[in-house]
């Protein structure tokens, strides 16, 4: 008898949950349900836009304006592009120009639309054990490589920041695979920007970070700017709507709305003001559609 009740209860629970879950699976109906579930727009974002809290800030605004649920997926640029190619997300916000251009030219995205920028910088311990403060990025990494003692923590996750790091190594004249195998001082974290900063602080090493995430983690990571001058350090964030012609399930229209939203004058102003009160400087500089020349 007791077992019967238990079984019955679990069957009832499962049925109600399955029905509830089916309702949330994001299918838009053609009006045959009394209250159709809200459309879900999926955005894959680079971790730096998430760790700064910018998405947490913008998400409710977009949801209210367009009456949809926004699902923000925390990803590195590499996996965000992969999700975009598979059509698993409708919009991506990333920061790796070359790969974005390939993404669009291969048809997966409609257009690469820059909407904000800031700068990368190399941060490290206040004592600067490697003595690289004030150098150019290329010279700084060269010294780190030659010294082989001070830790450098790489994102190691194919993200936009990781791509920039690889570009700096290349500009300094190194083959990246050689750098990877150079020794224990080179650490591949395999995590997002915020978590990587924490790891760098823990190890009292150096890392490449974007200004926005660095500022928002200043309370928790004991690191200071070490190298912040150099054209190569420009960091441009772009939004790309998925192309429904290649991936029919992509919500093309709402994705387009996201692009318009991020480049609209009101939101551009909000992006520019984001974090200024708290950190005393801009985390992101708005640049709707037109990126600065590096």
């Amino acid at each position: 008898m007791k077992k019967g009740i238990f079984l019955l209860t679990s069957v009832i629970i499962s049925l109600s949950l399955v029905l509830g879950i089916a309702g949330c699976a994001g299918t838009t109906s053609a009006g045959d349900e009394p209250m159709p579930p809200k459309q879900r727009l999926r955005v894959a974002t680079t971790t730096s836009l998430y760790d700064t809290g910018l998405w947490g800030y913008l998400e409710p605004m977009f949801e209210e304006k367009y009456g949809v649920e926004v699902d923000v997926l925390y990803a590195g640029t590499g996996i965000a592009l992969e999700y975009g190619m598979r059509g698993d997300v409708d919009v991506i916000t990333v920061h790796s120009k070359a790969r974005e251009e390939t993404f669009v030219s291969e048809g997966y995205g409609i257009e690469r639309v820059p909407f904000a920028y800031n700068y990368f910088l190399i941060v490290g311990p206040a004592g600067d054990p490697a003595g690289i403060k004030g150098m150019t990025p290329e010279d700084a990494v060269k010294k780190l490589y030659e010294m082989g003692s001070a830790s450098f923590i790489s994102r190691g996750d194919d993200s936009g920041t990781h791509s920039k790091e690889k570009a700096i190594w290349k500009a300094a004249g190194y083959d990246y695979e050689a750098v990877r195998g150079a020794g224990e001082w080179y650490v591949e974290a395999g995590r997002g920007m915020g978590p990587t900063l924490l790891m760098t602080s823990e190890k009292q090493g150096y890392t490449l970070t974007d200004m926005g995430t660095f500022l928002s983690y200043q309370g928790e990571a004991s690191l200071v700017p070490i190298v912040d001058k150099g054209g190569i350090l420009l960091n441009v964030y772009s939004v790309i709507a998925g192309n429904p012609e290649v991936n029919p399930k992509v919500k093309g229209e709402m994705a387009g709305n996201m692009v318009s939203f991020l480049t609209s004058p009101e939101v551009q102003e909000l992006i520019g003001k984001y974090g200024v009160k708290e950190y005393g400087m801009q985390l992101f500089t708005p640049c709707a559609g037109a990126e600065p020349a590096s």
């Binding site: 007791k2 238990f6 629970i13 949950l17 879950i21 994001g26 760790d51 649920e69 925390y74 598979r86």
Partner: protein, 230 residues
């Protein structure tokens, strides 16, 4: 160590104030694990019975395979399910990726071997005399089977408890196919993962304590049910 104590205090605070976000993810963890377990039970009790009561070629192999699958890594299942339900794949049209339904699918796959295997063990533990007596008293095949299952209910419930425990505590699967989306597919375990990587150790510990309390509570309830049978 102070972090653990702070975490404990934070856990109390979150529980007493019924913090909405924590309640939401706790409810979700419970609901997903309960659903997956129930579905797996409906599938695997019959399956386990079938395997146990019938002789066929490869029976030993199937049982071994089932037991091997007890320890399949959750990320591996996550990857497998991801590839199957991603929009780029044949089943992609169902739009299941990054939804709670995807987590349920994965968890059903995760706990099915455990429930099947332990059901088989449970049934094996029932004295042969039970089935022989039933048959001699005129029970048909179906009635005899049902009787043995009833005899083994204690151990079968233990199998479900085990499956539930595995489902509610996994991270890799939920992260990969659920996407840890706030307000939609975030569970206690994925939240712990996120908060830890953000450096919010106190909050992560608090969530961990809440998860343990939840798991204990469920276990106590189910144990009461088990013992009422005796």
């Amino acid at each position: 160590m102070t972090e653990v104590w702070q975490g404990f205090l934070k856990a109390l605070e979150l529980i007493i104030t019924l913090d909405p976000e924590v309640m939401e993810i706790a409810g979700r963890s419970l609901a997903l694990a309960a659903t997956s377990c129930s579905i797996a039970a409906l599938l695997c009790i019959p399956l386990g019975s079938f395997i146990h009561f019938n002789s066929f070629r490869g029976k030993r192999l199937i049982i071994n395979l089932t037991q091997t699958l007890y320890s399949v890594p959750t990320v591996a299942i996550g990857l497998f399910v991801f590839v199957f339900i991603s929009r780029a794949s044949p089943l992609g049209n169902l739009g299941l990726l990054f939804t709670p339904a995807a987590i349920v699918i994965g968890q059903v796959l995760l706990v099915s071997p455990i429930i099947t295997g332990l059901v088989i063990s449970a049934l094996s533990g029932v004295d042969r005399a039970v089935i022989e007596t039933a048959v001699s008293l005129g029970a048909n095949r179906f009635q005899a089977t049902a009787l043995v299952i009833r005899e083994a209910r204690f151990a079968i419930l233990a199998a479900l408890i085990m499956g539930f425990g595995r489902a509610i505590s996994e991270v890799g699967l939920s992260l990969m196919v659920g996407g840890n989306i706030r307000g939609f597919t975030r569970t206690i375990t994925t939240a712990i993962s996120l908060e830890t990587s953000k450096g919010e150790i106190e909050l992560a510990i608090a969530l961990g304590i809440i998860l343990i309390i939840l798991a204990l509570a469920i276990n106590i309830i189910l144990n009461r049910l088990q013992h009422r049978e005796e």
